[in-house]
Amino acid sequence: MLSDPAGAAPPPARPPLRLQGRVIHAGQAEGVALVSAEAIGFLGGVHPETGVILDRNHPLHGQSIAGVILVFPHGKGSTVGSYTILRLQKAGAAPLAMINAASEAITAVGAIIAGIPMVDQIDITQIQTGDFVRIHNQTIEIYK
């Protein structure tokens, strides 16, 4: 799952902020963070083939979650949203990894069936959109 999407800044020399979370789905990934302060509803809220957030009331409306380290408090809405995460992954439009404050069944099951690395129990206020983030199982390194 190592990848270096276009536009990803290489990690600067400064030592990273290191956080420990709880593994929902083990794995490694690195990339640029996209942070949502609000919960994400996947079914109907995210386009299953492009990753664009469709929910007009969401602060990230119009932005794509494809190829980023997606940081959000937790999922919401229909449990069918787990299949939306799977559809994103099949379409090549899934996040590289997901980080939650406190996960729930929809996102966790979606991460597992789609094989996307995922960690929760993270203080997500420590991460800003644009930070370079590296995930190795429960360990998260944040490069400002």
């Binding site: 449990t79 069944a105 597992i112 069936i113």
Partner: protein, 428 residues
């Protein structure tokens, strides 16, 4: 907080001892156990899988099921399926396109390969030999069935998602949290009824109001029993009381996220514990009118021409089929009528001659599917009528149809005449 405790056998499955399919299932069950701080896993007696219609699965979902089956996953406990997008044996007659039918049949065959019993129904509790018993731990993913199992039967289940219920079936256990624990089964709301509840549709309207008020809480109804006939000795027939509770549970699960309610003197935990089930901080509310619910659910009052009358959400019980057959005896329908049910209940009804009576009038008794999960717009249906509280809002949302909502008598009258008429008793 103590970590989730796994037995050595469970640890082995998690490590992949039974192959990647079972390992993935255990990963899902364990992840949920950790997220919701379960002390351990509990064996289950039955699983009910949602995410069966191709309309909801999409190609990715179908591929996923095939892949899971190919990884050698198979269920360890009796497992049944939610409705599909069509009647499996009669999709051509229904007018379903092969582009929909083909992936739908592939999905069902993946489930079969995993050992799932293809019941294609939201009412596993109406099946003799399958219906759960009090105290059973289940992994059920159909929200209307979850409410019935917890409330009417006194079994224990959370509102599982489709993949998590299938995962639980594959490992034969689920994480012990939520409604598996007695402490979480206490009532958060006390809901008094101060208006008459005369029909199944009235219970559907009530479900809308209570669902919106209660959210994911547990309502306790101290006086609702006054509007219920006694439950039948054989709950799998439905009965007049069961049909009302079936629609109530479906609606409060859909309009709220309720998984459990108690009715004083009626449901098993309330019969045993009474008001001891009510939490000290429970909110109290009184329902004195159903009119606001009817105003929303009977969404298109200008619509009088009906393309499809649909009865059976959740799937019709034997009692409902008896009522429909009795009303249609000797009639000729002016519009299309679907009574949606399971193959199992349809076979029981056929033994009583009920299916013939409905078909002679021109009605269809459709199994395996319903008007929410079938592609009804592709069938040219734009204006529907129903007596089912959950269907009233779900069909317009999922299929973009106009909707009339009223009592069974009114719906069958519309099927006979093709016209929706004002009720003899307006909503209170």
């Amino acid at each position: 907080m103590p970590d989730l405790h796994l037995t050595p056998a469970e640890e082995a499955l998690l490590a992949g001892s039974a192959g990647p399919g079972v390992q993935k299932a255990m990963q899902i069950v364990v992840a949920l156990g950790r997220i919701y701080a379960a002390p351990d896993l509990t064996p289950i007696t039955h699983a009910q899988i949602s995410g069966v219609s191709y309309k909801n699965l999409g190609d990715a979902g179908v591929d996923f099921l095939n892949h899971w089956a190919a990884e050698g996953a198979s269920v360890r406990v009796p497992t049944t399926l939610n409705p599909a997008g069509m009647e499996l044996e009669r999709w051509q007659e229904m007018g379903i396109s092969p582009d929909f039918a083909r992936p739908q049949l592939i999905a069902i065959s993946a489930f079969r390969q995993m050992g799932v019993t293809p019941t294609m129904s939201c009412t596993p509790y109406l099946f003799p030999g399958i219906a759960p018993r009090r105290g059973d731990h289940l992994a059920w993913a159909e929200s209307s069935a979850v409410v019935w199992a917890n409330s009417v039967v006194g079994a224990y289940t959370n509102r599982e998602g489709g993949p998590s219920a299938l995962a639980a079936a594959i490992v034969g256990r689920t994480a012990r949290y939520g409604y598996h624990l007695e402490a979480n089964r206490l009532a958060t709301h006390v809901v008094e009824i101060a208006c008459p509840l005369r029909t199944i549709a009235d219970f559907g309207a009530l479900s809308y109001i209570v669902g919106k008020e209660v959210g994911d809480g547990v309502p306790y109804f101290p006086d609702l029993g006054a509007w219920l006939p006694p439950l039948p000795a054989d709950l799998t027939t439905g009965g007049e009381a069961g049909d009302r509770l079936k629609t109530l549970g479906a609606g409060i699960a859909a309009y709220g996220a309720v998984a459990l309610y108690h009715i004083a003197g009626v449901t098993p935990e309330a019969r045993d514990l009474g008001e001891r089930l009510i939490r000290g901080d429970a909110r109290r509310l009184t329902i004195d009118s159903l009119a606001p619910a009817y105003a929303i659910m009977d969404a298109n009052p200008e619509t009088t021409q009906i393309d499809l009358v649909t009865i059976g959400c959740p799937h019709a019980s034997l009692t409902e089929l008896r009522r429909v057959a009795a009303r249609l005896h000797g009639e000729k329908l002016a519009t299309r009528l679907w009574v949606t049910t399971s193959q199992i209940t349809r076979a029981r009804a056929a033994q009583e001659g009920l299916i013939d009576l409905i078909q002679q009038a021109g009605g269809e008794v459709v199994a395996d599917t319903c008007a929410v999960v079938a592609p009804v717009r592709q069938l040219g249906i734009k204006r529907m009528a129903t007596n089912a509280g959950k269907m009233a809002c779900y069909a317009p949302m999922h299929s973009g149809v106009e909707m009339r909502f009223g009592d069974l008598e009114q719906c069958l009258e519309a099927a006979i005449t093709g016209q929706w008429r004002a009720p003899s008793l307006p909503p209170i």
